[in-house]
Each structure stands twice: as structure tokens, then as C-alpha cells.
Symmetry: C2
Subunit: 348 residues, 2 copies
């Protein structure tokens, strides 16, 4: 589960550890990072939270790509860092605000997910300052010394060869604190990506091979209109594989509908199955509406250009990419609105 | 079940009793009917067959309306006759070709559905002659004297106050011959309307109150492209009732897909439930594709102008109306093609 909230108001309410904040800003000023961050007044803060291994870092990389950003770890820093600096977006890993290092947490019997192991006051002050265009001295934690947990465990397994057993044990051990401190945050998110087992294969034993992924988007969020399939506000099941599109087993199934999520009206788009060929991806893209792409096939192009990213052949990759477009669109609309207000102020 | 075949070739293979033939013709010549029928060379023969009470006569009336035809029983004849004469269409009830009257059938132990009770040779000769533009002496049976069965039993009940018990008994008695002689004809139809019980109400006891209706259209029939929902050649379930359209219980559900029907590739569009208000009907119409309507909302207009016809609030009325458009379109394309051939012949 990855939860995302676009903070466009004056008050920010960010995600706690196992989260990142992405700062989108216009190109008006240069940025010094990581020790000092300066941004213009057109800053939008995106909060991103979720479980270990759910794909937060992959999402951030997709978002940076959608923004046309050459996002990379800060020069001279740890190349494994979750911190990314680009032309338009700066990504801060909120693990940087841990107040207790690993030995200290161990001594007090706390996990990194516990609020008592994190300095939320400093996080709040610094993100607020950045949002207001002021520079901050941001703490930088060293991943190599083991003072931070590595939050992206599933990717770590793929990329660093850790054993499934040790990862599963690590996730299981933090489960109570995940349930207590991380999971409840999804109720505040404007968009949620849920990862579930497939329903296409009866009695599927191999968990995680084929995924069913849901994109839950809150209704009535300004500049953030939900994606839909064919007929907005109705309920639809769609199997695109048929006469015009052939798919290999177990095929692809989409569902679209609406409902409530923690008391909020939401739209839900679900994809079960995976893409095997380019034409399947493009076919699906052309039948989705409100994607906020800038040209025909942009989602397909993004997915193909990062085919090596985890989840590029299933709903996690597709929905992360789509959310990238929605965030870009939201950002551009906010900037345009502020520019219009500023122009009016100059006239008056 | 109503089955329909458009005969556009030189050979006609019409439906046996419990069927009608509709002759569509251009307005080049005047027509004397019922005793003598003359038509121009632009004649298209539509065969229509199906079970007693399935709505064949209602379908013919809807078709005549779509064609803008003032179709009415022949002057001076029985006003209850199934024969209709209009400006563009002439409807012949194939019961007129019974070779045995009711007493004769009773004496030999045959139902009216039995081929031995019908003169197919005369039917073939006369329809062929009409198709070729020659006049015929067509037998006319008198419905009042009881020499013919009344085929539209469900409508008869509604319109003439017959008891459900006597109708059910009559249908049950003819069931073996229906299965043997009428039902198998659907495999030759280009379009079939199937009427089934609803799935919207669990354990529905009141059979026939809410209907689930399927429009099955053969693929690759010239000038007769199947209707589809959202994405041609895929599989879709659609509940239009939702945020934009509110429906009363039990709502409306559409399904669209494809498959084989007696070895033929077919498209299948299914509607479960019924319309309560104009906006529901219009909303559904605007989301269906390939209807062959001539203007926005024509199906809704047709349905509303015959709101008193049986099935006007469910899939039977909608699909009969749509088939009317498809037949009108087919006819106009055939006429245009023949006119083009004729024009070329004049030039050469």
C-alpha cells in the first residue's frame, strides 16, 4: 500500500517514517542540497507513505521521470540514498528525521516506525520552511553505517540479493508498529495504490507473481480529478483481451467503480494481471480517461522507458505512472493559478 | 426468442409458421394488397421467427415505425390481422400459408407448427415472386373463424384478457413441436433476441416481471455490423446507475461480449432490468455504439413514442428498436449499392 497526499494548503501534515516528501518547485531559483534547500514560492509538497517494499522509491523515480527531471542522489553523498535532487523535484526521505539511531532504538525496544523514534517537530519546521521558500539545515543520515532502516525491502531483495526469509522476518517483526503508526495514515491520502493477490488464477499458490492493483483516488480534490474507465461514475468490468487484443494467460481484467474509503467518496480503478506486449499496454492506456497525459501514448512511453523498474508490467507501474501525470497536472494548475493571482496583484 | 434473418441473396429461406416476412421496397411502384402484391426490384426480404408470445408483432410494429411507415392492416380486412401494409414495408404473416385448418390438424393430430400443416412450396414460390417484382395471389386466412392460431399469446393476454392458465397450457401443448420445428431455426438467424429471467433479484419468484434480454448478432454479415458497448470485441459489464445516473431497485446492468452461437461468431449485448425514467433510457442509448440511428437520441424517441407497446421499458423494446435501425440501415445500404450498379450499367 502506497498512500499519497498532495498538500496544497498552508499547513503541511506529512507522513511519518517509511515515507518521503517530494518538493515540486518552479525553476525560479537555484537549489543547494542536501545541507541547504532554497525553493521559490511555487512549492508543492507531496507526501508519500506506505509499507516496506511497497514501491515508494520506484514511484518517486517514475514521478521524477514524468516531470522530465534528471533526479539523482546528491553529489558526494551515498549513491544508495533515497534523497534525489532534480531540476524540478527534490525528494527528501523522511527517515532522515529519525531521532533515535538503531542502537538507541534497540536499547528502548522501539522500531523505527514508532513516533518516539522520530523528530516530527523538526520535520514539520523544515518542510514548512522549505514550502515558504526558506533554506534549512537538513540532517543527513548515513545509510551505510546502519543508523537507518532500508525501507524498500522487496526492491532491496531484487537489487541487492537479500534473502526472502530475512526480509519477511523483518517485515513481520515491525507489523504491529506498521499497523499502529503507518497503515492508519492512508485515510488522509488523496490517492492510494493497493496491492492484492490476483483473482484471475483460481487457488493461486504463488503469492505475488501476478498482482491485482487498485488505484483509489479521493473525489473533489482540487486539481486532482480521478481517472476513469469508459463512463465516469458508473460501475464497469472490462476484459480488454478479446477480438481486437490477444493476451497470454491469465489475461488482464479491469474494474472501475466508486465507493467510500474511510468516510471519503472515492473512485477505484483496479487492474488484475500483467502486460506481456507493448500493444496491450497501449490498448489499455487509450481506453482510460482523465490520465492527464500530454500526448497520445505518454503512459506507455513512460512505462517502456523504465521497463527495468519493478512492476513495469503490472498495475503498480501503470498506476504509479498515472499518479505521476496527475501530480504533474496538479502542480502545473497550482502554478498557473498562483501566477494568475500574482499578475492580478501587479495590475491592481 | 425472436430470430431474424435478412435475406439479401437470390435464394430465400424463410421461416415457417410462428413467423412473418417483412418486405422492404423502394417507392417506385404502387402496391395492391393483400390479393395482389407488386414490388420494385429493390426488395429486401426479412424473415422473423420465434416462440408464441415472444413479441414478433411488437417487433414488426417497431420496425414499421422506424421506417416511418404508416403500417396498418389491409383495408376491409380483419383489424386483428397480422398483415400490415405501409409505404415502405409490407408485412405478411406466414400463418397465411397453413395448408391444414384447425379441424383438419386436429383430425390428423398435428400442431400448426408441424411442416405437414403448412404449404412451404407455395410460400417459397410467392415470396420469391414478390422478391422478383411479380404479383401473386396470396391466400388470406380469417383469424375470426379460428382457422389460424393467434401466435402472440402474451400480448393477447394483455390486450384481450385471456387467462394466464389457458395460454400456458396452449404453449405447453405445442412445446414438443416448437422444439422440433421452430427453435432450431434460430441457428440460421443473423440476429436473435433472447428473453431470460433477471439476475438482479436473488431468488426472484415472480417470473417475467423483470427481464434479462440478450441481443445476439452474427459477425461478418454484410451491411449489418453488430452493436457494441464501449470497446468493440472486448468483454464488459456495465452498471450505468451510479454517480451520474440514479436508478430505482433493482437497477440496470449491461453486459457485452462475444462468442459462438451454433458455430457462428457472434456479438452479445445483454440488458438486465428496466427503465423507469426518460433519462435512464437516453443515458444508456448514448453509451451504446453502432446503433445506426440517424440522430442523437433516436432510439429513445422511438421507445417513448410507443411507450404503450409491450416491453417498452426493458431490453425487448430497446433491442427490437435497435434491430429496426440496423434493418433500416441494411436496407438503405443495399438500395444504394443497387442504384450505384444500375447507374454504372447505364453509363456503360
Amino acid at each position: 500500500m502506497a498512500a499519497l497526499k498532495a498538500h496544497t494548503g498552508a499547513t503541511t501534515s506529512l507522513y511519518s517514517p517509511a515515507g518521503t516528501a517530494t518538493l515540486l518547485r518552479s525553476r525560479k531559483r537555484r537549489v543547494a542540497f542536501p545541507s541547504r534547500v532554497r525553493v521559490s514560492c511555487s512549492t508543492v509538497v507531496i507526501g508519500l507513505g506506505g509499507d516496506s517494499g511497497c514501491g515508494k522509491r520506484t514511484f518517486v523515480r517514475r514521478l521524477a521521470s514524468v516531470l522530465g527531471d534528471g533526479a539523482a542522489p546528491p553529489r558526494g553523498g551515498n549513491p544508495e540514498s533515497n534523497t534525489l535532487v532534480g531540476d524540478t523535484a527534490t525528494v527528501i526521505c523522511l527517515d532522515d528525521y529519525h531521532s533515535l539511531d538503531r542502537p538507541a532504538r534497540k536499547a528502548r525496544g522501539l522500531t523505527a516506525l514508532d513516533p518516539r523514534a522520530n523528530d516530527f517537530d523538526l520535520m514539520y519546521e523544515q518542510v514548512k520552511a522549505i514550502k515558504e521558500g526558506r533554506a534549512v539545515e537538513k540532517p543527513v543520515y548515513n545509510h551505510v553505517t546502519g543508523l537507518l532502516d532500508a525501507p524498500e525491502l522487496v526492491r532491496d531483495m531484487a537489487e541487492r540479493g537479500q534473502s526472502l526469509g530475512s526480509i519477511t522476518a523483518s517485515i513481520e517483526a515491525r507489523k504491529p508498529d506498521f499497523d499502529a503508526y503507518i497503515d492508519p495514515q492512508k485515510q488522509y491520502a488523496d490517492a492510494v495504490i493497493e496491492v492484492l493477490p490476483t483473482k484471475l488464477i483460481p487457488d493461486e499458490e504463488e503469492v505475488g507473481k501476478v498482482l491485482r492493483v487498485r488505484l483509489i483516488m479521493k473525489e473533489d480534490v482540487k486539481h486532482f480529478a480521478p481517472v476513469y474507465l469508459f463512463d465516469e461514475g458508473s460501475t464497469i468490468n472490462w476484459i480488454p483481451c478479446g477480438r481486437k487484443l490477444s493476451c497470454s494467460y491469465p489475461g488482464i481484467r479491469f474494474a472501475y467503480g466508486f465507493g467510500t474509503y474511510f468516510g471519503h467518496e472515492v473512485s477505484v480503478l483496479e487492474m488484475d494481471g500483467q502486460f506481456d506486449r507493448l500493444e496491450e499496454l497501449l490498448y489499455v492506456e487509450t481506453h482510460l480517461s482523465n490520465l492527464s497525459t500530454k500526448f497520445y501514448g505518454e503512459a506507455t512511453q513512460q512505462m517502456l522507458s523504465h521497463a527495468d523498474f519493478p512492476g513495469s508490467n503490472n498495475g503498480t507501474g501503470l498506476f504509479q505512472t498515472i499518479l505521476g501525470f496527475k501530480i504533474r497536472d496538479l502542480y502545473e494548475q497550482i502554478v498557473a493559478e498562483r501566477d494568475a493571482v500574482a499578475a492580478d496583484a501587479v495590475k491592481a
